[in-house]
């Protein structure tokens, strides 16, 4: 009994830093945001408290149970859904519609997202210029955040901070068994080709080509008003990509297919994985070759070769699914340069702290905003 109490207390203590950080951000948001956005004081306060409790509880459970992915997934999926609700509601409140027009482009009023960062880097390096019709401050903030995230988490961003990934993560968990199996992991190299192509074509066309032609998430954020055949074709493409890669294929394969086969930002983050200290290691002596980890990995980051070398492929998102799934406990979080046999739990916690700091900074406002919209719907009958 005493041991149990001590364990609980220790887990609570380990949760405290993240919980306090979340509370601090929430307080700052409460004091700062309400006046600017005209939010209802009470409802916004409630949504912030729920956000704080939600994040703190899930972090506590991760710490206390030693399991990562099942609690990460709950948070990640809720974050993606609430982000979409909040984003669409804000568009309708500000613009009266989900779509944007050429006038919005001309006024540089298009919101920027992290995926577009990939297309900004070459023009920034070559000419200190940003090829996006948005707010200069917002874009520069996102670019700085992207660089920080790349250094701190590498592709861990895709497992904890991306506000789109939760949609596929959720869809990939809807069916019990995969209907399509045996996909060759080499196809998960396509995002690198998309990254190269989108960077070069953006420079050639002076326009963020991936955003206009290939981004599937316009289906849950905003899209261009259909005024000519080219925009119609672009709309059909993004709808097909969203339904195919974000909904249908994840259900059939139990994999995050958009992240694995398309996203250029994920490719960019993958390139930063080799210079990131946080990674996953497989204890090849404990491993029995059951391949359960390869089956469950959502991004094709583990292969037969990984079981022999003990290392995942470059595109590992550090989601922890393989760590939780391994029946022999042979897979652990690891910090490069440290002894691979010791301190597994400490290393996992250090990584989770880094991931949660970013998640709270980037994601908590979106979670609170989405919750606020839902509460507003319940109380007032509308999202806006």
């Amino acid at each position: 009994m005493r041991v149990t109490h001590t364990r609980w207390l220790l887990s609570l203590l380990k949760t405290l830093p993240v919980s306090l950080l979340c509370a601090g951000f929430g307080f700052m948001a409460y004091m700062g945001m309400m006046g600017d956005l005209g939010y209802d004081h009470t409802l916004f306060g409630i949504s912030i408290v729920i956000t704080w409790a939600f994040i703190s509880t899930l972090f506590f459970l991760m710490v206390h149970t030693g399991k990562t992915d099942r609690y990460r997934a709950i948070l990640f999926i809720a974050y993606a859904v609430l982000f979409s609700i909040g984003f669409i509601a804000n568009n309708i409140a500000n613009r009266g519609a989900m779509f944007f027009t050429e006038q919005d482009i001309a006024r540089c009023e298009i919101p920027f997202c992290h995926i577009a960062t990939t297309m900004m880097l070459l023009p920034m390096a070559v000419g200190k210029t940003l090829l996006f019709p948005g707010s200069l401050s917002a874009i520069l903030s996102m670019v700085i955040l992207a660089v920080i995230t790349a250094l701190v988490l590498g592709r861990g961003f895709c497992g904890y901070v991306c506000f789109y990934g939760g949609l596929e993560d959720g869809c990939s968990r809807l069916s019990k068994k995969a209907k399509i199996k045996g996909i060759n992991p080499k196809w998960s190299l396509i995002p690198f080709a998309v990254l190269i192509t989108s960077m070069l074509t953006t420079l050639a066309a002076l326009s963020p080509t991936y955003c206009f032609w290939a981004c599937p998430f316009k289906a849950v954020t905003e899209y261009e008003k259909i005024v000519n055949p080219i925009v119609l074709i672009q709309t059909i493409i993004f709808l097909v990509l969203f339904i195919g890669l974000v909904v249908v294929l994840p259900i059939l394969t139990k994999k995050r297919t958009q992240c694995s086969f398309l996203c250029p930002f994920g490719a960019m983050m993958s390139l930063c994985n080799p210079i990131n200290p946080f990674t996953i290691r497989i204890d090849t002596e404990k491993c029995t070759g059951c391949r359960r980890c390869i089956q469950v990995c959502p991004t094709f980051s583990l292969t037969h070769e990984s079981l022999q070398t003990g290392k995942p492929r470059i595109n590992c998102t550090k989601c922890g699914k393989c760590v939780d799934a391994c029946p022999r406990g042979a897979i652990h979080y690891h910090i490069r340069g440290t002894c691979p046999d010791r301190g597994h739990e400490a290393k996992r916690l250090i990584f989770l702290h880094a991931a949660f700091i970013l998640l709270i900074a980037v994601g908590a406002p979106s979670i609170a905003d989405g919750l606020y919209r839902i509460l507003h719907l319940i109380v007032a009958g509308s999202f806006v």
């Binding site: 874009i139 250094l151 910090i335 340069g337």
Partner: protein, 47 residues
């Protein structure tokens, strides 16, 4: 091995410092980039 471990701990500490420092000084970073001349391309800002 010991040196590697010390370096990797320092690496992690540096990253946390970058993370927390970066988040708190984001506004300064944006101002510095604007000062350095970063701008939206004229193809979007010109009529």
């Amino acid at each position: 091995m010991r040196l590697k471990r010390i370096l990797s701990i320092l690496w992690v500490i540096a990253l946390f410092a970058l993370l927390i420092g970066g988040l708190f000084t984001l506004g300064n970073g944006v101002a510095a980039l604007k000062e350095a001349g970063f701008h939206i391309h004229p193809v979007y800002t010109q009529e």
